[in-house]
Amino acid sequence: MEVAIFWLLAVIIIASAAATVFSKNIIYSAFSLLFSFLGVAGIYAMLSADFLAVTQIMVYVGGILTLILFGVMLTNRITMMSLKTDVFNFIPGLTIAAVMLAGLLYVIWVTGTWASDSPAAWDTTVETIGTLTITRFLLPFEVVAILLLIAVVGASFIARKDKQKIQS
Protein backbone atom coordinates (compact mmCIF):
# COMPACT_ATOMS: atom_id res chain seq x y z
CA MET A 1 0.00 0.00 0.00
CA GLU A 2 2.65 2.48 1.07
CA VAL A 3 4.85 1.52 -1.84
CA ALA A 4 1.96 1.96 -4.27
CA ILE A 5 1.24 5.45 -2.91
CA PHE A 6 4.91 6.32 -3.20
CA TRP A 7 5.04 5.28 -6.86
CA LEU A 8 1.83 7.13 -7.62
CA LEU A 9 3.20 10.31 -6.04
CA ALA A 10 6.56 9.83 -7.70
CA VAL A 11 4.96 9.49 -11.12
CA ILE A 12 2.85 12.60 -10.51
CA ILE A 13 5.85 14.61 -9.36
CA ILE A 14 8.19 13.53 -12.14
CA ALA A 15 5.59 13.80 -14.90
CA SER A 16 4.46 17.26 -13.89
CA ALA A 17 8.01 18.45 -13.27
CA ALA A 18 8.91 17.22 -16.75
CA ALA A 19 5.87 19.02 -18.15
CA THR A 20 6.99 22.18 -16.34
CA VAL A 21 10.42 22.01 -17.86
CA PHE A 22 9.56 20.84 -21.36
CA SER A 23 6.25 22.60 -22.00
CA LYS A 24 6.37 25.42 -24.50
CA ASN A 25 3.47 27.26 -22.92
CA ILE A 26 4.38 29.11 -19.73
CA ILE A 27 0.93 28.80 -18.22
CA TYR A 28 1.05 25.04 -18.64
CA SER A 29 4.45 25.09 -17.00
CA ALA A 30 3.05 26.98 -14.05
CA PHE A 31 0.07 24.69 -13.62
CA SER A 32 2.05 21.49 -13.89
CA LEU A 33 4.33 22.96 -11.27
CA LEU A 34 1.22 23.11 -9.07
CA PHE A 35 0.78 19.34 -9.31
CA SER A 36 4.41 18.72 -8.67
CA PHE A 37 4.27 20.85 -5.50
CA LEU A 38 1.19 18.97 -4.34
CA GLY A 39 2.92 15.65 -4.99
CA VAL A 40 5.93 16.77 -2.98
CA ALA A 41 3.58 17.71 -0.15
CA GLY A 42 2.24 14.15 -0.34
CA ILE A 43 5.78 12.79 -0.09
CA TYR A 44 6.35 14.94 3.00
CA ALA A 45 3.20 13.52 4.55
CA MET A 46 4.48 10.00 3.79
CA LEU A 47 7.69 10.85 5.61
CA SER A 48 5.58 11.79 8.64
CA ALA A 49 6.32 15.48 8.27
CA ASP A 50 2.70 16.61 8.49
CA PHE A 51 3.49 20.19 9.44
CA LEU A 52 5.86 20.56 6.54
CA ALA A 53 3.35 19.05 4.13
CA VAL A 54 0.80 21.70 5.00
CA THR A 55 3.43 24.43 5.05
CA GLN A 56 4.50 23.30 1.60
CA ILE A 57 0.96 23.69 0.31
CA MET A 58 0.47 27.03 2.03
CA VAL A 59 3.75 28.62 1.02
CA TYR A 60 4.47 27.03 -2.33
CA VAL A 61 1.00 26.53 -3.74
CA GLY A 62 -0.70 29.42 -1.99
CA GLY A 63 2.13 31.90 -2.18
CA ILE A 64 5.04 31.26 -4.49
CA LEU A 65 3.08 29.76 -7.35
CA THR A 66 0.51 32.54 -7.26
CA LEU A 67 3.39 34.99 -7.41
CA ILE A 68 4.85 33.10 -10.35
CA LEU A 69 1.49 33.19 -12.12
CA PHE A 70 1.43 36.92 -11.55
CA GLY A 71 4.87 37.15 -13.02
CA VAL A 72 3.67 35.22 -16.07
CA MET A 73 0.56 37.31 -16.50
CA LEU A 74 2.29 40.65 -16.04
CA THR A 75 5.25 39.93 -18.29
CA ASN A 76 3.51 38.34 -21.24
CA ARG A 77 0.70 39.39 -23.47
CA ILE A 78 -1.48 36.75 -22.04
CA THR A 79 -4.72 37.30 -23.89
CA MET A 80 -2.98 36.46 -27.13
CA MET A 81 -2.54 32.89 -25.94
CA SER A 82 0.89 32.80 -27.56
CA LEU A 83 2.87 32.17 -24.43
CA LYS A 84 5.36 30.08 -26.26
CA THR A 85 8.95 30.31 -25.20
CA ASP A 86 11.87 28.73 -26.93
CA VAL A 87 14.12 26.10 -25.56
CA PHE A 88 17.76 26.73 -26.29
CA ASN A 89 20.92 24.83 -25.41
CA PHE A 90 18.78 21.72 -25.60
CA ILE A 91 21.55 19.18 -26.20
CA PRO A 92 24.12 20.62 -23.75
CA GLY A 93 21.41 21.09 -21.14
CA LEU A 94 20.20 17.54 -21.55
CA THR A 95 23.74 16.20 -21.39
CA ILE A 96 24.61 18.06 -18.23
CA ALA A 97 21.33 17.10 -16.57
CA ALA A 98 21.78 13.44 -17.55
CA VAL A 99 25.37 13.35 -16.33
CA MET A 100 24.35 14.97 -13.08
CA LEU A 101 21.50 12.48 -12.65
CA ALA A 102 23.84 9.57 -13.33
CA GLY A 103 26.32 10.92 -10.79
CA LEU A 104 23.65 11.38 -8.15
CA LEU A 105 22.20 7.92 -8.74
CA TYR A 106 25.66 6.42 -8.58
CA VAL A 107 26.28 8.08 -5.23
CA ILE A 108 22.88 7.08 -3.90
CA TRP A 109 22.79 3.46 -5.00
CA VAL A 110 26.42 2.41 -5.12
CA THR A 111 28.50 4.40 -2.67
CA GLY A 112 25.76 5.29 -0.19
CA THR A 113 26.29 3.59 3.14
CA TRP A 114 23.47 5.10 5.17
CA ALA A 115 21.05 2.95 7.03
CA SER A 116 17.78 2.44 5.25
CA ASP A 117 15.68 0.88 8.00
CA SER A 118 13.01 3.26 9.14
CA PRO A 119 12.56 4.06 12.82
CA ALA A 120 9.04 4.43 14.20
CA ALA A 121 7.09 7.25 12.63
CA TRP A 122 6.50 10.40 14.62
CA ASP A 123 3.00 10.88 15.84
CA THR A 124 2.94 14.62 15.34
CA THR A 125 5.75 17.00 14.56
CA VAL A 126 4.05 20.30 15.33
CA GLU A 127 5.01 20.44 19.00
CA THR A 128 8.58 19.32 18.44
CA ILE A 129 9.05 21.86 15.66
CA GLY A 130 7.56 24.58 17.83
CA THR A 131 9.86 23.76 20.72
CA LEU A 132 12.92 23.47 18.52
CA THR A 133 12.19 26.82 16.88
CA ILE A 134 12.42 28.70 20.15
CA THR A 135 15.24 26.68 21.67
CA ARG A 136 17.91 25.14 19.47
CA PHE A 137 17.04 26.99 16.28
CA LEU A 138 16.27 30.37 17.81
CA LEU A 139 19.12 32.21 16.14
CA PRO A 140 18.45 30.88 12.60
CA PHE A 141 14.78 31.60 13.16
CA GLU A 142 15.46 35.24 14.01
CA VAL A 143 17.91 35.58 11.15
CA VAL A 144 15.36 34.16 8.73
CA ALA A 145 12.75 36.57 10.07
CA ILE A 146 15.06 39.52 9.42
CA LEU A 147 15.87 38.12 6.00
CA LEU A 148 12.17 37.93 5.16
CA LEU A 149 11.74 41.54 6.22
CA ILE A 150 14.66 42.57 4.02
CA ALA A 151 13.23 40.55 1.13
CA VAL A 152 9.83 42.22 1.48
CA VAL A 153 11.31 45.71 1.57
CA GLY A 154 13.75 44.93 -1.22
CA ALA A 155 11.17 43.31 -3.47
CA SER A 156 8.70 46.14 -3.14
CA PHE A 157 11.49 48.66 -3.71
CA ILE A 158 12.69 46.93 -6.87
CA ALA A 159 9.24 46.31 -8.32
CA ARG A 160 8.04 49.85 -7.65
CA LYS A 161 7.75 52.04 -10.68
CA ASP A 162 9.88 55.15 -10.66
CA LYS A 163 7.67 58.13 -9.97
CA GLN A 164 9.73 60.52 -12.10
CA LYS A 165 9.68 58.09 -14.98
CA ILE A 166 5.90 57.99 -14.99
CA GLN A 167 5.69 61.76 -15.05
CA SER A 168 8.10 62.14 -17.94
Partner: protein, 337 residues
Protein backbone atom coordinates in the same frame (compact mmCIF):
# COMPACT_ATOMS: atom_id res chain seq x y z
CA UNK B 1 -12.99 -2.05 12.10
CA UNK B 2 -15.21 -2.60 9.05
CA UNK B 3 -18.22 -1.28 10.97
CA UNK B 4 -16.26 1.73 12.09
CA UNK B 5 -15.28 2.46 8.51
CA UNK B 6 -18.88 2.14 7.39
CA UNK B 7 -20.02 4.49 10.14
CA UNK B 8 -17.39 6.99 9.10
CA UNK B 9 -18.47 6.72 5.48
CA UNK B 10 -22.10 7.32 6.40
CA UNK B 11 -21.11 10.31 8.50
CA UNK B 12 -19.05 11.76 5.65
CA UNK B 13 -21.86 11.31 3.15
CA UNK B 14 -24.36 12.77 5.59
CA UNK B 15 -22.24 15.84 6.32
CA UNK B 16 -21.45 16.55 2.69
CA UNK B 17 -25.02 15.78 1.63
CA UNK B 18 -26.48 18.23 4.10
CA UNK B 19 -23.84 20.75 3.05
CA UNK B 20 -25.18 20.43 -0.51
CA UNK B 21 -28.69 21.07 0.71
CA UNK B 22 -27.59 24.04 2.78
CA UNK B 23 -25.77 25.56 -0.15
CA UNK B 24 -28.85 25.15 -2.36
CA UNK B 25 -31.01 26.83 0.24
CA UNK B 26 -28.43 29.55 0.89
CA UNK B 27 -29.22 30.79 -2.62
CA UNK B 28 -32.93 30.82 -1.83
CA UNK B 29 -32.23 32.53 1.50
CA UNK B 30 -30.09 35.15 -0.21
CA UNK B 31 -32.86 35.97 -2.68
CA UNK B 32 -35.41 36.20 0.10
CA UNK B 33 -33.18 38.45 2.21
CA UNK B 34 -32.42 40.64 -0.78
CA UNK B 35 -36.12 40.87 -1.56
CA UNK B 36 -37.00 41.85 2.00
CA UNK B 37 -34.29 44.52 2.02
CA UNK B 38 -35.52 45.97 -1.24
CA UNK B 39 -39.15 45.72 -0.21
CA UNK B 40 -39.93 42.98 -2.73
CA UNK B 41 -41.48 39.54 -2.35
CA UNK B 42 -38.73 37.36 -3.76
CA UNK B 43 -39.21 33.88 -5.18
CA UNK B 44 -42.61 32.52 -4.14
CA UNK B 45 -43.92 30.62 -7.18
CA UNK B 46 -42.31 27.18 -6.97
CA UNK B 47 -43.61 25.26 -4.01
CA UNK B 48 -44.80 26.57 -0.68
CA UNK B 49 -43.32 30.07 -0.24
CA UNK B 50 -41.05 29.26 -3.14
CA UNK B 51 -39.26 26.58 -1.14
CA UNK B 52 -38.65 24.40 -4.18
CA UNK B 53 -37.01 27.28 -6.06
CA UNK B 54 -33.41 25.96 -5.66
CA UNK B 55 -34.33 22.71 -7.40
CA UNK B 56 -36.02 24.58 -10.20
CA UNK B 57 -32.89 26.71 -10.59
CA UNK B 58 -30.62 23.69 -10.71
CA UNK B 59 -32.86 21.96 -13.25
CA UNK B 60 -32.90 25.05 -15.43
CA UNK B 61 -29.13 25.39 -15.37
CA UNK B 62 -28.67 21.71 -16.11
CA UNK B 63 -30.92 21.83 -19.14
CA UNK B 64 -29.34 24.93 -20.63
CA UNK B 65 -27.14 24.69 -23.65
CA UNK B 66 -23.46 24.53 -22.91
CA UNK B 67 -21.39 27.15 -24.71
CA UNK B 68 -17.62 27.08 -24.73
CA UNK B 69 -15.84 29.97 -26.36
CA UNK B 70 -13.93 28.80 -29.45
CA UNK B 71 -10.70 30.39 -28.31
CA UNK B 72 -10.87 28.79 -24.88
CA UNK B 73 -8.49 26.10 -23.69
CA UNK B 74 -11.06 23.36 -23.35
CA UNK B 75 -9.42 21.05 -20.84
CA UNK B 76 -8.57 23.77 -18.36
CA UNK B 77 -11.89 25.46 -18.99
CA UNK B 78 -13.64 22.26 -17.86
CA UNK B 79 -11.29 21.64 -14.96
CA UNK B 80 -11.52 25.09 -13.34
CA UNK B 81 -15.08 24.95 -11.93
CA UNK B 82 -14.42 21.48 -10.54
CA UNK B 83 -11.35 22.73 -8.67
CA UNK B 84 -13.38 25.59 -7.24
CA UNK B 85 -16.15 23.34 -5.94
CA UNK B 86 -13.92 20.58 -4.58
CA UNK B 87 -11.65 22.97 -2.72
CA UNK B 88 -14.62 24.77 -1.23
CA UNK B 89 -16.06 21.47 -0.06
CA UNK B 90 -13.08 19.73 1.45
CA UNK B 91 -12.45 22.63 3.79
CA UNK B 92 -15.57 21.52 5.59
CA UNK B 93 -14.00 18.16 6.47
CA UNK B 94 -12.21 19.73 9.43
CA UNK B 95 -15.24 21.31 11.03
CA UNK B 96 -16.82 19.52 14.00
CA UNK B 97 -20.59 19.94 13.96
CA UNK B 98 -21.20 18.20 17.29
CA UNK B 99 -19.09 16.53 19.96
CA UNK B 100 -17.30 13.73 18.14
CA UNK B 101 -19.05 14.49 14.83
CA UNK B 102 -16.46 15.50 12.29
CA UNK B 103 -15.00 13.91 9.19
CA UNK B 104 -11.40 14.27 10.31
CA UNK B 105 -9.45 15.76 13.16
CA UNK B 106 -5.81 16.22 12.30
CA UNK B 107 -3.49 18.02 14.63
CA UNK B 108 -2.76 20.64 12.00
CA UNK B 109 -6.42 21.23 11.14
CA UNK B 110 -6.32 25.02 11.20
CA UNK B 111 -3.30 25.11 8.89
CA UNK B 112 -5.03 22.63 6.59
CA UNK B 113 -8.02 24.94 6.28
CA UNK B 114 -5.81 27.87 5.37
CA UNK B 115 -3.89 25.74 2.86
CA UNK B 116 -7.00 24.41 1.13
CA UNK B 117 -8.47 27.90 0.90
CA UNK B 118 -5.34 29.01 -0.84
CA UNK B 119 -5.65 26.25 -3.44
CA UNK B 120 -9.18 27.46 -4.17
CA UNK B 121 -7.68 30.53 -5.86
CA UNK B 122 -6.52 28.34 -8.72
CA UNK B 123 -10.07 27.52 -9.79
CA UNK B 124 -10.69 31.20 -10.34
CA UNK B 125 -7.33 31.93 -11.91
CA UNK B 126 -7.57 28.98 -14.29
CA UNK B 127 -11.09 29.94 -15.29
CA UNK B 128 -10.01 33.47 -16.06
CA UNK B 129 -7.04 32.43 -18.10
CA UNK B 130 -8.63 29.55 -20.03
CA UNK B 131 -11.61 31.64 -21.16
CA UNK B 132 -9.26 33.78 -23.22
CA UNK B 133 -11.25 36.92 -22.65
CA UNK B 134 -9.94 40.10 -21.13
CA UNK B 135 -12.81 40.50 -18.70
CA UNK B 136 -12.28 37.01 -17.35
CA UNK B 137 -8.57 37.55 -17.08
CA UNK B 138 -8.91 40.85 -15.25
CA UNK B 139 -11.41 39.28 -12.89
CA UNK B 140 -9.19 36.35 -12.12
CA UNK B 141 -6.12 38.51 -11.57
CA UNK B 142 -8.05 40.65 -9.17
CA UNK B 143 -9.27 37.53 -7.40
CA UNK B 144 -5.85 36.07 -6.87
CA UNK B 145 -4.32 39.36 -5.72
CA UNK B 146 -7.19 39.91 -3.33
CA UNK B 147 -7.07 36.41 -1.93
CA UNK B 148 -3.34 36.36 -1.24
CA UNK B 149 -3.51 39.76 0.43
CA UNK B 150 -6.35 38.87 2.73
CA UNK B 151 -5.11 35.39 3.53
CA UNK B 152 -2.19 36.97 5.34
CA UNK B 153 -4.40 38.94 7.70
CA UNK B 154 -6.62 35.89 8.12
CA UNK B 155 -3.65 33.77 9.12
CA UNK B 156 -2.44 36.40 11.57
CA UNK B 157 -5.89 36.58 13.15
CA UNK B 158 -5.90 32.81 13.58
CA UNK B 159 -2.46 32.93 15.23
CA UNK B 160 -4.07 34.75 18.16
CA UNK B 161 -6.59 31.95 18.61
CA UNK B 162 -3.87 29.31 18.29
CA UNK B 163 -1.83 31.08 20.97
CA UNK B 164 -4.76 30.98 23.37
CA UNK B 165 -5.74 27.39 22.58
CA UNK B 166 -2.14 26.17 22.40
CA UNK B 167 -3.17 23.76 19.67
CA UNK B 168 -3.76 23.90 15.92
CA UNK B 169 -6.36 21.14 15.96
CA UNK B 170 -9.82 22.47 15.12
CA UNK B 171 -11.50 20.13 17.58
CA UNK B 172 -9.40 21.36 20.48
CA UNK B 173 -10.06 24.95 19.44
CA UNK B 174 -13.78 24.26 19.81
CA UNK B 175 -13.36 22.32 23.04
CA UNK B 176 -11.26 25.05 24.62
CA UNK B 177 -14.13 27.50 24.23
CA UNK B 178 -16.44 25.55 26.60
CA UNK B 179 -20.08 26.36 27.20
CA UNK B 180 -19.25 29.55 29.06
CA UNK B 181 -19.76 32.42 26.64
CA UNK B 182 -16.93 34.35 28.27
CA UNK B 183 -14.50 31.75 26.98
CA UNK B 184 -15.60 32.08 23.38
CA UNK B 185 -12.93 33.47 21.19
CA UNK B 186 -15.13 36.33 20.05
CA UNK B 187 -14.84 37.66 23.61
CA UNK B 188 -11.22 36.70 24.10
CA UNK B 189 -10.12 37.83 20.64
CA UNK B 190 -12.41 40.67 19.52
CA UNK B 191 -9.80 42.30 17.30
CA UNK B 192 -8.84 38.97 15.75
CA UNK B 193 -12.49 38.22 15.11
CA UNK B 194 -12.99 41.53 13.33
CA UNK B 195 -9.95 40.97 11.12
CA UNK B 196 -10.92 37.40 10.34
CA UNK B 197 -14.47 38.43 9.54
CA UNK B 198 -13.47 41.20 7.15
CA UNK B 199 -10.93 38.92 5.53
CA UNK B 200 -13.52 36.20 5.00
CA UNK B 201 -15.61 38.64 2.97
CA UNK B 202 -12.65 38.94 0.66
CA UNK B 203 -11.96 35.20 0.66
CA UNK B 204 -15.56 34.39 -0.20
CA UNK B 205 -15.60 37.11 -2.90
CA UNK B 206 -18.66 38.72 -1.38
CA UNK B 207 -19.69 42.32 -1.58
CA UNK B 208 -18.23 44.76 -0.55
CA UNK B 209 -15.16 42.92 -1.86
CA UNK B 210 -16.60 41.19 -4.91
CA UNK B 211 -14.26 42.91 -7.36
CA UNK B 212 -13.38 39.70 -9.20
CA UNK B 213 -16.88 39.62 -10.58
CA UNK B 214 -18.01 43.22 -10.34
CA UNK B 215 -20.76 43.27 -12.92
CA UNK B 216 -20.57 46.92 -13.88
CA UNK B 217 -16.93 46.82 -14.93
CA UNK B 218 -16.13 43.26 -15.82
CA UNK B 219 -19.41 41.87 -17.21
CA UNK B 220 -19.30 38.77 -14.99
CA UNK B 221 -15.67 38.63 -14.00
CA UNK B 222 -13.88 35.33 -14.16
CA UNK B 223 -16.99 33.38 -15.12
CA UNK B 224 -18.06 35.63 -17.99
CA UNK B 225 -17.44 32.88 -20.54
CA UNK B 226 -19.14 30.16 -18.55
CA UNK B 227 -22.63 28.93 -19.09
CA UNK B 228 -24.97 26.14 -18.12
CA UNK B 229 -23.70 23.56 -15.62
CA UNK B 230 -20.17 24.96 -15.45
CA UNK B 231 -21.53 28.33 -14.47
CA UNK B 232 -23.74 26.57 -11.94
CA UNK B 233 -20.65 24.97 -10.45
CA UNK B 234 -19.03 28.37 -9.92
CA UNK B 235 -22.24 29.68 -8.46
CA UNK B 236 -22.34 26.65 -6.21
CA UNK B 237 -18.73 27.14 -5.16
CA UNK B 238 -19.46 30.73 -4.25
CA UNK B 239 -22.26 29.78 -1.92
CA UNK B 240 -20.27 26.87 -0.52
CA UNK B 241 -17.57 29.40 0.31
CA UNK B 242 -20.20 31.46 2.07
CA UNK B 243 -21.39 28.51 4.16
CA UNK B 244 -17.86 27.31 4.85
CA UNK B 245 -16.70 30.78 5.85
CA UNK B 246 -19.63 31.07 8.24
CA UNK B 247 -18.86 27.63 9.65
CA UNK B 248 -15.21 28.50 10.18
CA UNK B 249 -16.18 31.75 11.90
CA UNK B 250 -18.59 29.81 14.09
CA UNK B 251 -16.03 27.16 14.91
CA UNK B 252 -13.12 29.44 15.60
CA UNK B 253 -14.81 32.39 17.24
CA UNK B 254 -18.29 31.46 18.35
CA UNK B 255 -17.66 28.23 20.22
CA UNK B 256 -18.66 25.89 17.40
CA UNK B 257 -21.26 23.41 18.58
CA UNK B 258 -21.04 24.52 22.23
CA UNK B 259 -24.47 25.28 23.66
CA UNK B 260 -24.23 28.42 25.83
CA UNK B 261 -24.65 27.60 29.55
CA UNK B 262 -25.74 24.08 28.69
CA UNK B 263 -25.09 22.49 32.09
CA UNK B 264 -27.04 25.32 33.73
CA UNK B 265 -29.96 25.54 31.29
CA UNK B 266 -30.31 21.92 30.11
CA UNK B 267 -28.57 19.79 32.74
CA UNK B 268 -30.30 16.53 31.76
CA UNK B 269 -29.27 16.59 28.13
CA UNK B 270 -27.19 13.65 26.98
CA UNK B 271 -26.79 10.95 24.34
CA UNK B 272 -28.41 11.59 20.97
CA UNK B 273 -30.46 14.47 22.32
CA UNK B 274 -27.26 16.30 23.19
CA UNK B 275 -25.81 15.61 19.75
CA UNK B 276 -28.96 16.85 18.03
CA UNK B 277 -29.03 19.96 20.19
CA UNK B 278 -25.39 20.63 19.39
CA UNK B 279 -25.95 20.21 15.67
CA UNK B 280 -28.89 22.58 15.91
CA UNK B 281 -26.80 25.11 17.83
CA UNK B 282 -24.08 24.89 15.22
CA UNK B 283 -26.55 25.40 12.39
CA UNK B 284 -28.15 28.38 14.14
CA UNK B 285 -24.81 30.07 14.74
CA UNK B 286 -23.79 29.38 11.15
CA UNK B 287 -27.04 30.81 9.81
CA UNK B 288 -26.45 33.92 11.88
CA UNK B 289 -23.18 34.51 10.06
CA UNK B 290 -24.74 33.64 6.69
CA UNK B 291 -27.38 36.26 7.36
CA UNK B 292 -24.74 38.81 8.39
CA UNK B 293 -22.88 38.17 5.14
CA UNK B 294 -26.07 38.77 3.17
CA UNK B 295 -27.02 41.80 5.21
CA UNK B 296 -23.69 43.42 4.45
CA UNK B 297 -23.93 42.46 0.79
CA UNK B 298 -27.22 44.22 0.27
CA UNK B 299 -26.25 47.24 2.36
CA UNK B 300 -22.74 48.33 1.44
CA UNK B 301 -21.48 49.48 -1.95
CA UNK B 302 -18.43 47.93 -3.59
CA UNK B 303 -14.91 49.04 -2.68
CA UNK B 304 -12.55 50.50 -5.21
CA UNK B 305 -9.68 48.17 -5.97
CA UNK B 306 -6.96 50.41 -4.56
CA UNK B 307 -9.05 50.90 -1.42
CA UNK B 308 -9.39 47.15 -1.09
CA UNK B 309 -5.63 46.67 -1.29
CA UNK B 310 -5.05 49.58 1.06
CA UNK B 311 -7.43 48.11 3.63
CA UNK B 312 -5.78 44.71 3.41
CA UNK B 313 -2.16 45.75 3.53
CA UNK B 314 -2.17 49.03 5.45
CA UNK B 315 -4.82 48.37 8.07
CA UNK B 316 -5.70 44.68 8.52
CA UNK B 317 -2.15 43.37 8.35
CA UNK B 318 -0.69 45.75 10.99
CA UNK B 319 -3.78 45.20 13.13
CA UNK B 320 -3.27 41.44 12.82
CA UNK B 321 0.35 41.82 13.93
CA UNK B 322 -0.76 44.01 16.81
CA UNK B 323 -3.29 41.33 17.77
CA UNK B 324 -0.60 38.65 17.85
CA UNK B 325 1.69 40.82 19.98
CA UNK B 326 -1.12 41.78 22.37
CA UNK B 327 -2.26 38.17 22.75
CA UNK B 328 1.27 36.94 23.34
CA UNK B 329 1.88 39.70 25.89
CA UNK B 330 -1.38 38.94 27.64
CA UNK B 331 -0.50 35.26 27.83
CA UNK B 332 2.92 36.15 29.19
CA UNK B 333 1.47 38.31 31.98
CA UNK B 334 -1.52 36.11 32.90
CA UNK B 335 -0.01 32.70 32.32
CA UNK B 336 -2.80 30.23 31.73
CA UNK B 337 -5.51 32.59 30.51
Amino acid sequence: MKLELLGHLILTVAIFGSLFLFVAYAVYFERKVAAKMQNRVGPDRVGWYGLLQPFADILKLLLKEEIIATQATKFVHTLAPAISVIMAFITFAMIPIAEGFYIADINIGMLYMMAVTSIGVYGVTLAGWSSNSKYSLLGSMRASAQMISYELSMGLAVVGVILITQSISVVSIVESQTENILYWNIIRQPLGFLIFWIASFAEANRLPFDLPESEQELVGGFHTEYSSMRFALFFFAEYTHLIVASSILTTVYLGGYQIPFQSFLFPGLDGWWLVSAQILTFILKMCLFVFLFMWVRWTLPRFKYNHLMELGWKYLLPLGLLNVVLTAGWLLIYDGF
